[in-house]
Amino acid sequence: MDFEVTYTEEQQRFRRDVRAWLEANVPASIQRAPVSAEDNYQRYLELRALGRKLGAKGWLYATAPAKYGGGGLDVDHAIILEEEVDRFDLSLPPYYDSGGRLGSASILVWGTEEQRQTFLPAIYKGEVRTWQLLTEPGAGSDLAGVRMTTAVRDGGDYVINGQKIFVGSDNGTDRIWMIVNTDPKGKRHENLSWFMIDATLPGITVRPMELMGTGGEGGTDSGVKQTVFFDDVRVPAFALVGGENKGWKVATTHLELEHGGGGRIGRNRVWDRLLRYCQETKRDGVPLSQQGDVRDSLADIYIKAEVQRLFGVRNFWLTYARKPKSYEGPQLSYYRKTTGLWMTGAILEAVGPAALTTDPTWGSAGGFLETQQRNGIVSVHPGGTTDIQRVQMARRIGIGRPTREAAGSVHAGEA
């Protein structure tokens, strides 16, 4: 086994090029914690501008096919990019683009050639940001129960009505990747369809939700969520991906990735900050990190973070070496969610009340630990609750149902 990517001369040169480019093109100000809503929006615009620059170089979606505007790079180059971007505390894309990430993968697997050519380049080049709209007031864990949002065929168009909740992020979106009901009387799993639509169409209203989480443009997760209303929104039939009432199949790609099937390589940013804080902060004259009970807590936290990292590395490898997967995707998701939730208590115990305040004087780690206190809880539900992840694992292990369930396909040409 080899847990590390070995880099060739050419790849090391690539790393130097990427580093130099990022140093020249990532504004230092982008790493700030926004001080106001206006500032938050300004920072978002800066992130989007960076995204477009990365997209133009093929570095935004590095492994996506070049013929659709992606980087066309191999996994090793993609890892180099991820690692270098990570040095700036950013991910790829550097803003919330969940719909682009998951939608583009689904379109690659299930879209027609014309749909790929139409939808993918703008995503891969960072020209659009896409939200994914799944959850409805009556369909949360039971995603297949989507029925409040419907699409009805009308000539060359579909007309969408309904409501989605707990979706998106701060700062609006350009496109929407969504699942709707296209046959209210149809059988379960045979009545849903996927659409990739323009978010600026008439009849779409976005209303913010006030939630316990914070943040929103750091990368894969967003603490800010919206309610989106659809009132006779007319979209061309071309927006339908995968065929009418074939939506559940398309969802398998999407959900596999969202449930951790793609894996991840990267450090744990909470851990780095927590350790530094505990080394720099004294209680009763002794650094927290030197106090026996805190040290024990830190060891427990570190190990959980390490196991989570290793599950991510394993899934990453399984995906890119195209090895068969079973329960590993939802396992990573389950582990990440339960660990994040558990960590809120562990960090609170190790650090004390300073973990709860963002106060610049009395808070801890630049407010980062306070964010974890909230988001460790909030993250339990997006992409499926911890219970849903366990149900998925059991089905794939082969004990949840009479027949064993297969993992969703995440590679084009395998569907």
Binding site: M1, D2, F3, E4, V5, T6, L275, C278, Q279, S289, R295, D296, L298, A299, D300, Y302, I303, E306, V307, L310, F311, V313, R314, W317, L318, A321, K323, Y327, Q331, Y334, Y335, D387, R390, V391, M393, A394, I397, G398, I399, G400, R401
Partner: protein, 373 residues
């Protein structure tokens, strides 16, 4: 990056699994449980012929000098039993302690016999205080006629009742780490090994009653024993972890099969989400142990600093085996505690290995030290 086994590792895995299925199926493992000695001579001889006892011993000392990760493939398969016997005690910890601590002449004298299986060498570290650190070593030899006399007790010594040779960690100075290693004939006058009764697997008491040990029995240099033992343990522990990973894998497979075949309320019990939760918990522990162990093995085989990873792997694996067995018992209910079913052998082994060579808390603290927090 490549997390697959190599072709030769796959071949070793197949060979070892075939061997285990033929020579050590559940009924054999169960029947061995009550024996005073963990060593079954027929099995031991065959394992020696396959080269398994010298897998880590360099070729110049009669072994095959394989990498740790190759040996780990073998130990995963042994753990599936869980196969009793001083495989780890002698073939891994014993061999590596001699390799790290002994003089060249001593290596040439001891290692070929370990590789051939004629010598069974186990290392006696802890004492009634059950500490796995150097401060816990209090057994102090008395100098006599240029040699030593030993009086005292070593405890929780693995597989001592089947050993021909012992390496005994003894106190030889005031400093905490002033520990030396003595090679003692396990059959010498005054040496008594006794398997401890109860819910633990072949952990023994070894008592020394005026045991006379010649001067040449000192392995390497005086007061360098703890450093040698630390080096040996860093490489040995991941193989104990690999044994545990294989054990957890077997416990997992047993549990999955049971939930698919045991019918209650008219359906296989795996259909119940409460039962599924036990299996999920089990596989999460299994995979935590697997990947922390294999990353540590990879670091050691490629010459990377590995101390923190090794401590983490032992902490995670020890906990994983205990928890995996707990989950399996919740799945199996009455069937799980039936001795002949085979789960109980794992459960007892999981408790044994939980503390053996340091429990999770102890290793987590060593990990924190190694990471220089």
């Amino acid at each position: 990056m490549d997390l697959a086994l190599t072709e030769s590792q796959e071949m070793l895995r197949t060979a070892a699994r075939t061997f285990m299925e033929r020579e050590a199926p559940v009924d054999v493992v169960v029947s061995l449980q009550k024996a005073e000695s963990s060593l079954e001579p027929g099995l031991w001889r065959k394992a020696a012929q396959l080269g398994w006892l010298g897998i880590l011993i360099p070729t110049e000392y009669g072994g095959s000098g394989d990498r740790l990760s190759d040996a780990a493939v073998l130990y995963e398969e042994l753990g599936r039993g869980p196969l009793p016997g001083p495989f780890f005690s002698s073939g891994v910890l014993g061999a590596l302690t001699v390799l790290e601590g002994a003089s060249e002449e001593q290596r040439r004298r001891l290692l070929p016999g370990i590789a051939s299986g004629e010598r069974v060498l186990t290392v006696a570290i802890t004492e009634p205080n059950a500490s796995w650190g150097p401060a816990g070593i209090t057994l102090t030899p008395q100098g006599k006629n240029g040699g030593y006399t030993l009086n005292g007790t070593k405890l929780f010594v693995s597989d001592a009742t089947s050993a021909t040779d012992l390496v005994v960690a003894v106190r030889t100075g005031e400093g905490t780490s002033d520990v030396s290693l003595l090679h003692v004939d396990a059959r010498a006058r005054g040496v008594t090994a006794r398997r401890l009764p109860g819910f633990l697997s072949w952990q023994c008491e070894v008592s020394f009653d005026n045991v006379e040990v010649p001067r040449v029995a000192l392995l390497g240099d005086a007061n360098r024993g703890w450093a040698a033992l630390t080096r040996a343990l860093e490489r040995a522990l991941p193989l104990l972890c690999a044994y545990i990973v294989g054990a957890c894998q077997a416990v997992y497979e047993k549990s999955v099969l049971y939930t698919q075949t045991r019918v209650q309320f008219g359906v296989p019990i795996g259909r119940f989400q409460r039962v599924q939760d036990h299996v999920v918990r089990l596989v999460n522990h299994l995979d935590s142990a697997r990947w922390t162990t294999w990353e540590a093995l990879w670091k050691l085989d490629t010459g990377r600093p590995a101390a923190a990873s090794v401590h983490m792997a032992k902490a995670v694996a020890s906990e994983a085996y205990l928890e995996a067995c707990n989950a399996a018992h919740e799945v199996h209910a009455g069937m799980g505690v039936l001795i002949e079913y085979g789960l109980a052998a794992h459960t007892q082994m999981s408790r044994t290995l939980f503390h053996f060579l340091g429990d999770p808390r102890w290793h987590k603290r060593r990990m924190a030290d190694a990471l220089e927090w």
